[in-house]
Structure formats: C-alpha cells, structure tokens
C-alpha cells in the first residue's frame, strides 16, 4: 500500500537547499582561491568565499537549533544494523529490482548508510571545514604586533586540511546527486526534497520499528530475486 506523507518540513527543505547552494558556491569560489579554476576573478572569489562562509555559519546555527528543538537530530544517530544489507542492496539488489532493505518513514527517513555518512559530515567534515575556514580567515602572518589575530607560523597546515575537506565534500556531492536518482522513481527523491511530500510504503502506525525500519536480511534479497 502506498501513501503520500509530508516527510521533509519546510525549514528542513530551506536548510537543505540553502546549504546545497552555499556549498556549491563555496566550492566554486574556494577552488578558484585554490588555483584550480578561474571564474569570478581572484579578488572577487576571496570576498565571495568569505561572505558565503559567514552565511553558512549562520545557517548551521539555525540548523543545529532546529535539529535539537524538534528532536530530528535522532534521525542521524548512526546504527550498524542493516549496513551490510544496505551495501548489498546498492551493489547487487538494485540491479535485480529487489525492494530497498529498509523502509523510509517520517520518523526514520534516513537509511543506515545515509545515517552513517550524514553523521560523519555533521560531526567531522563540516566542523573541520568551519574551524579550518575560520583559522584561514583570521590567520595572520608572522608579524609585528600591529594587527591582532590568530598567530600560527604557517598557513600551510590550515590550508591543506581545508582543501582535503573540500575534496571530500565534492566527492560527497557527486555521489549524493547520483544516489538521489535511486528512489522509487528517478525523480521521486528530488520531488520530495522540493515539495516535502513523498509517496512511501504502507502502515505508518507501527511505531515500535520506527527507528530501525523494516529488516530484510541480505539472504532474503538474494532469495527473492531468484
């Protein structure tokens, strides 16, 4: 039984798309500063990058507030359950038109792989980018004491960490954009993130399984595909 549910709240969508735009913009300007591309002009790229980074930090504060107050943060608590089933699904099952091993519900809208990856982004990659970015901006050269700032002897370590994080984010976006097409239809995930509504499977009332989703073991996947 399929039914349409309101799965992504309006703030969530606002946060997601603003974050998407900012990361895209920060990546473009950032890689211009890094010397990989030329687009805005170096001086503009630096100014835009810095301005967008402040916007990004503001957005992060709002997002943290929203996640904490709504309890949505629980969605991102990683679990090792069904990870193998998920991996099996994306590597094997998906080609055999096997159903997704975990069920998407309003209260558990992320599959175990998503939980793991998004959790990693939230507690590792994004904080590292923010902290290294702030150090990058407020870094001051070895100097006399005329202008106050954070004193570190070389920009290199900061820049290398910031760049490594940027590469990780780009790789994430590439894969993320592709996996977007692996929903019920090619565009169903995109539509859901734009409108908030998604058509998902069955009974909504079974709250006992909400956070784990429905288990379908890897072995069963194989069996059902035979």
């Amino acid at each position: 039984m399929k039914k349409t549910v309101y799965i992504y709240k309006s703030f969530e969508r606002f946060w997601h798309w603003t974050q998407a735009l900012l990361i895209f913009f920060l990546a473009t300007t950032g890689f211009e500063i890094h010397g990989s591309i030329r687009f805005f002009g170096y001086e503009n790229a630096v100014e835009y990058h810095n301005a967008a980074s402040y916007a990004f930090i503001v957005l992060i504060f709002f997002a943290i507030f929203w996640h904490l107050t709504t309890g949505e943060w629980k969605q991102y608590v990683p679990t090792m359950k069904n990870i193998k089933a998920e991996i099996n699904y994306y590597l094997i099952g998906i080609f055999r038109n096997v159903p997704h091993p975990t069920r998407k519900t309003v209260l558990s809208k992320l599959n175990p792989l998503q939980k793991l990856v998004y959790f990693g982004l939230k507690i590792l990659v994004i904080p590292v980018m923010v902290v290294s970015g702030i150090l990058y901006m407020f870094y001051r050269y070895p100097q006399q004491d005329s202008i106050v700032g954070i004193k570190i002897d070389s920009l290199e370590s900061i820049a290398v960490v910031h760049t490594a994080g940027a590469f990780l984010l780009i790789a994430f976006i590439v894969v993320h954009l592709y996996l977007m097409t692996t929903g019920a239809t090619l565009t169903s995930n995109l539509k859901a993130m734009l409108t908030g509504y998604e058509e998902i499977d069955g009974e909504e009332k079974d709250s006992s399984k909400i956070f784990e989703g429905r288990n379908i073991a890897g072995a069963e996947i194989k069996k059902s595909s035979n």
């Binding site: 001086e43 503009n44 301005a51 790789a171 894969v175 592709y178």
Partner: protein, 523 residues
C-alpha cells in the same frame, strides 16, 4: 511545487545580492587628496639670493663660491661634512661582522667595481672639489660643492675626470645667484647616471624622471603631484632620509611610503593584511626601467678586444652599449618585471679584502637579509644585476683594479688594457695581496626598486601572484601561498576520489539501465 521552486530562487538570489553588497566600495580618493594638499603649496624662500651682493662677484674658482656661501651659512659646512653625501664611509653594524666602516671606500660593486685608485674620475658625482687618489682636500670645507645640489639655474655641470671640479667655462656667478632648494634635476644629475650612464645602476632612477609623466612615476609626475626628491627624502641639517642597500647595512634612516600614506591604506581589509608581509612597492611598482633601459648584466671578462690597437664600442638599436673594450659586454632591459625577495632592512656586504668561501657559486655582493618567518621582513621588488668580474683565485679576493688614469703607462686598465698590471696597481693601492692570477667570478647585486610607482590601475593584481602558472613570487618558496601552492598528496588524492566516484557512478548507472531493460523485457 512551483511556489516552492520560486521561493527558493528568490531566496538564493537575495543571498547573492547580500553577498555582493557586503563587498566594500572603493573610496580611498579622499585620503589621497588630503596628502596631495600637503604638497600643493610650496613655501616661497625668504631670501632671494640674486639680491645678495656677496654673490654678485666674478668667481674665479668654485671654492670662492663656497667661501661666499659660508659667510652667511656659517655652520652649514659642519652639517655637510657629517653627511653621507660628503663622506666615503661610515660606521654601520652588520650582523656577524660587528661594527664596520663601510662606504664607497671599501665596498665592491659589480659595475665599475670600486672607487679606489679611480677617485679622480668617480668624483664627478661627489659633492666636493679637488679630489685626488690621495683624497687630500677632503678635510677642507671650501671644497664642499654647494652648487651641485643648490643650483636652480640648471646650468651647473661638473667636469669629467676633474676630481669633482665644475666644467670649465660655466658662469659661476649666475649659478651662485640662482641657488635654492634642491630640485629633481639637482639630485638626478648624479643619481640618474650612477654607474657611468643613464639608468645603468638603479633601473628605477633615470633621466625620464627629470620630468616624468604619471605613467612613469605617479609621485614625481609633472602632470601630477610633481614631487621633488626631498619631499620623500626629508632632509634636516643636510642629513637626508633614504639610502641604498648597495652600501647601507642597517635598518635606519629609511625613507618610506608610510611617511605620507597610512600603513593600511586600502579600503579592502584583505589588501591591508598584505601590508604586514608585502611592501607597498611590490604591488605598486609592477614594472621598472619604464622608459630607458637599465643594465642587467656586465661581463668584464670580454673586455680588452681592440681593433687596430683602438678600443671599440658596439651599441644596440636603442643606443645602449653592448660592448666597450674598456668595460666588456653588457645586457640591457627595459619595462622589466622586478625580482622579489624577503627583506628586513638589513644587509651584508662584500668588503675589500674579504675572502670568498665558495667561488663556484655566484657571489652576492650585497645580500639582503630576510625570510618569511622573520617578523620584520617584507617582500620587496629588486633589480638583480649580474656580472662577471675580476677575481684572484689564489687569494680568493675580488680584485680592485686600477681602471682610470690620465695617461698610459700608469697601469690603468682603461688606458693599457692589461688585467694583471691593472690588478697589481689597484690591489697595491688598497694594500691587499695579489697573486698575479686574474680570473673571473660571477657576482650579483640586489637593487631595491623604490621609484617609478605606477598609477593605481596598473598595480599588481591578485592573480599575478596567486596563481600556479608563473606566479610573480614563484621564487619565494619558504611559505604557503593560496592559489600558488598545494599539497601534492591531497591534490592527487582529492582529484582521484572524485574521479573514482564518477567512474563508479558511470558503471553503476549503466548496470541499472541494463537491469531495468531486462526487467521490462521480463514483464
């Protein structure tokens, strides 16, 4: 759905607008016009020297003029005789050497090498008269040449090879009556022609600056602020600010941009941050030797080629000497992009009698101290002058040859064209040993570029340094610079990760397409 897409587009575009508005506007014209007003009105002198009877006399010798000056300016000679313009050496502290006496007297350069034994010729640019090899007359205050700096008639000319005396036949009375504060032409007659010709030495000081256009020098521009040298090289009691590190070693008495401009004059804070590590000149003098060429290389080892026993001269199409039998061969350049080095305001020097530790390497005659990690260092633009010059590979000393003499037979290279003899006489004159062996050594001199400041729109742009291809600062490798530098491991790993992801997606999507076709066929 449409409503949501629309509202998202509005949101994103408003973010872009905000980002654009945060960008600060450029409004530093105000502070500039404030500085300009400082130089717009010049004080008129309280004395018109043409009305002074003491000067209305038929001077027979330049010393008589000086004596007349000293009648009123009774103490001025004491100031002058303490100044760097008068003295041929001074006490300087050099790290690693201690306090040393340094000056034209004992510093070797890689142009005409040194003054010793050649004083009579070199004195053309000394503010004294009656200079000989023996340097007598040096303590006589009437030998001070007041006129070379204070002539305002533009007719005073010092004679060649006359020990600093003026050219015979000039009207000393007219010149004496014209005196006033030094103008660009007073300074320029010596400082534009250092090294024996226009722009030979500095590269950023040359005859086009007698009356430069804004494109040549935005400060001295006669169609602009029209500054005189002494506006920046502020002078008190005949002691001037400013020095050149071919002879100076200490970070003192420098003439700086900050005398007029603020240390952080830009409206853009990121540019202001640059001023901590980048000298103003670095961005604002992107090009030097803008009009006439400057000498970049000097090879003494080719000197001495005579045709029919006569010295020869070869010129390029611009009229620059490319070969002179007395001096060797030269390379010139114009509209040059400076080299860039770290500099903390102190320098070391090769002084007469120093021994060279490794003569296989290029010897730097005036090494400028500084590095990225040195908190007092900034990146400055320099002209690097390269030379091949006479060297005694037994005593490991640079040779001070005798170059100039009035006549043949005194050992002067410019008359006799004999390196061994010229070296023997020259080294004897400075009381240094000479083995009898003349070889040649490669040397470099660093000339900080401080003049020929360009208009704002011509200053260096970010991308000229912050780039991977041919960064202006490609030779300064002791620091990480965004846009130029990257970590190879991160770069390869990052690009590799993205490529692997894309390849994975490609394979994965192909397999999905295949399986969905198969699925359709089955159903």
């Amino acid at each position: 759905m449409r409503k949501i897409i629309l509202s998202l587009i509005i949101l994103f575009s408003s973010i872009l607008v905000i980002v654009y508005l945060i960008k600060p506007g450029v409004t530093d014209d105000e502070s500039l016009s404030e500085i300009r007003s400082k130089f717009e009105k010049r004080a008129t002198p309280t004395t018109d020297h043409s009305k002074l009877e003491a000067l209305q006399q038929d001077f027979k010798t330049p010393q008589e003029v000086t004596a007349a000056c000293m009648n009123c300016h009774t103490e001025a000679h004491k100031e002058v005789m303490k100044s760097n313009h008068w003295n041929w050496e001074r006490q300087e502290y050099i790290k690693g050497r201690g306090i040393v006496s340094i000056g034209k007297k004992n510093a070797i350069n890689n142009f005409c090498i040194g003054v010793d034994g050649n004083e009579k010729s070199c004195a053309k640019c000394h503010i004294g008269f009656g200079i000989t090899d023996k340097m007598d007359g040096y303590t006589d205050s009437t030998n001070i040449d007041c006129l070379v700096c204070h002539d305002n008639s533009d007719t005073y000319i010092k004679g060649s090879e006359l020990g600093g005396n003026p050219m015979p036949g000039i009207d000393l009375q007219k010149i004496a009556m014209s005196v006033g504060k030094p103008t660009r032409s007073n300074c320029g007659v010596c400082h534009f022609f250092g090294g024996g010709g226009n722009n030979v030495k500095h590269g950023d000081l040359e005859k086009s600056m007698f009356n430069p256009k804004k494109e040549i020098d935005v400060h001295m521009a006669s169609d602009g602020p029209n500054l005189r040298c002494t506006d920046c090289h502020v002078t008190e009691n005949h002691q001037m600010l400013g020095k050149i590190y071919s002879l100076s070693s200490m970070n003192r008495d420098r003439s700086t941009c900050e005398q007029c401009h603020k240390e952080t004059p830009h409206s853009n804070e990121i540019l202001n941050e640059h001023t901590m590590k980048v000298a103003c000149q670095t961005c604002h003098i992107p090009v030097y030797a803008k009009d006439n060429s400057t000498k970049m290389e000097w090879d003494w080892s080719t000197a001495g080629r005579l045709e029919n026993g006569q010295p020869v001269e070869e010129d390029d199409e611009l009229g620059n000497h490319t070969y002179l039998s007395i001096k060797g061969s030269f390379k010139w350049g114009n509209n040059l992009s400076p080299d860039y080095v770290w500099f903390n305001g102190t320098a070391n020097h090769y002084l007469l009698g120093d021994t060279v530790t490794d003569d296989s390497k290029t010897l730097v005659l005036n090494s400028l101290n500084g590095s990225y990690s040195d908190r007092n260092s900034k990146i400055i633009p320099v002209k690097i002058h390269k030379a091949t010059q006479p060297y005694d590979d037994v005593t490991k000393m640079l040779i001070q040859p005798k170059l100039f003499a009035d006549k043949k037979g005194e050992g002067a290279y410019w008359k006799d064209f004999n390196w061994v003899r010229a070296s023997e006489v020259g080294m004897k004159e400075v009381n240094l040993p000479f083995s009898g062996n003349v070889s040649f050594i490669k040397t470099e001199m660093y000339w900080p570029v401080n003049h020929m400041v360009s208009t704002k729109d011509k200053s260096l742009q970010c991308i000229q340094c912050h780039t991977r291809d041919d960064s202006k600062l490609k030779d300064l490798k002791d620091f990480y610079m965004p846009g130029r530098d990257y970590n190879k491991v991160v770069e390869r790993g990052g690009v590799g990760l993205i490529l692997v992801s894309i390849a994975g997606i490609f394979v994965h999507s192909l397999m999905r397409i295949r399986s969905s076709r198969r699925g359709k066929e089955q159903s």
